[in-house]
Symmetry: C2
DNA sequence: AAATCACATTTATCTGATTTAAATTGCTTG
DNA sequence: CAAGCAATTTAAATCAGATAAATGTGATTT
């Protein structure tokens, strides 16, 4: 049962291993996404249970959850098989987390931000049309946190995330709000990267432009302001690694 | 258990009820999304099993899958509870299907297309930059099917869907490709609606403009062409029911 | 060569007991 | 009376072992 796959980070986190089933979900999910089963045949239900030292019930429930997330598929006689990545649910929080646990990939970072450049400007435009006073207040609160962070009184990253999520919510479209996790994940990764490339501080003024456009009810301005924010990051990424250059 | 919510389409489809667990997943999932449990307390594991005439194992596995999709949450002593819609995974194929099974809502239709107007134009722009010959061939194939459909030799809806999905794929970004289901679902619903409002046939020429821009490597043109396609649908929806009009 | 049948393998399902987590209740104590 | 603490209780979590159903493989028959 050699479970010592590298660093000493055993305790998966807050409420992930809160019971055997979720612990197993996390372990197998990570293993699949990281690629441990590439080329190899996936163990049978009985083997999995033995390997992880749990009962078959626990195993089956973990496998069923991974099936629900699109990572596995099970059929009698054929066995349980890892599904191609095209059928993984990439917007699932767990899947996103596991994706980030494999080696840092600038490709993934770019794909994240290519998605953001579609979603967030449009969310901002929508917000400029339909946001309620409460919505705008949340956007404002995010911006204020960023200003405080600039003075070292708050966390730069977390306040940035709060701002972007507030805008998503202000679009009043549940599909946009759903990008909560993608955006915060992308931001966490992006900022680490952009900080490495050049010591860029989060541009509070540019964010304020987005807020102003939303509060002022100007969709086009909001779209453009948000787009420029994200385009900056994309440009930075393309600078580090232009178009189709191989890894 | 009055399940007679309209038309006589009882058999859920191809491989949904392929076994007890999936049948139960579908039944409970639909019930939750349709709102059968709003306000009511969710049954315990034992009650659920009895109600559906299956064992607790089957029940537990179905509940675990619904948990993985964000619809349920289970804790000892507290019981199993329906989660707020904000934590549902709206990009899950099953959840999308269940969403459409509740009464037709023009709000949902608008939200779908508000998402499309963000995703698809950007996917087209991306495709114009990075699509391979194969990708373009698939887009072309979709367009040709639409032309044949115009002459009554193919299905209008299915060829339209094929075109849009080919563009998503051509973006070479797995996150965009993931919108496969959302887009086809949205199209199926949109087209039924637009046909009802006015006898509009799918505008093959406008679609050809998208293809040309992608094949010609012109991102801005591709973005604009695709955007105008979807904006047309959005305008139609807003005409039927302007901005924030109630119910 | 095609159709059929028997078999082996793996998931699917059931049953019933045991364990663990966490609200609630009620008792004790300051 | 309020605060803290322990017993109770409820529901999920886990285990064990058996049986059923599905399905690919290969032998057998036609």
């Amino acid at each position: 049962m050699a479970n010592m796959s590298g660093l000493g980070i055993e305790d998966a986190g807050p409420q992930l291993g809160r019971n055997l089933t979720y612990g197993m979900l996390d372990a197998i999910g990570r293993a699949i996404v990281v690629g441990d089963y590439d080329g190899a045949t996936f163990p049978t239900e009985a083997e999995l249970a033995k390997q992880h030292g749990v009962s078959r019930s626990v195993t089956r429930e973990a496998v069923k959850m991974l099936t629900a997330k699109g990572l596995l598929s099970a059929r009698p006689r054929q066995g349980t098989t890892v599904q191609p990545t095209t059928s993984w649910n990439l917007f699932d929080t767990d899947v996103l987390r596991w994706l980030l646990e494999r080696q840092f990939s600038i490709d993934l970072l770019r794909q994240f931000n290519e998605l953001r450049v579609a979603i967030e400007p449009e969310a901002a435009a929508l917000a400029a049309r339909v946001a309620t006073a409460d919505d705008i207040e949340r956007v404002n609160a995010g911006l204020k946190r960023m200003e405080r962070a600039e003075r070292g009184e708050d966390d730069t990253l977390e306040s940035d995330i709060a701002f972007h999520i507030a805008v998503l919510r202000a679009s009043r479209n549940p599909f946009y709000a759903q990008f909560r996790d993608v955006v915060s994940t992308a931001l966490r990764t992006s900022i680490r990267f952009t900080n490495r490339v050049k010591g860029r501080t989060a541009n509070v003024a540019d964010h304020a432009a987005v807020r102003d456009a939303i509060a002022g009810g100007n969709p086009d301005k909001a779209r453009k302001a948000m787009r420029s924010l994200i385009s900056d990051v994309l440009d930075l990424i393309d600078t580090a690694k232009p178009d189709g250059a191989a890894g």
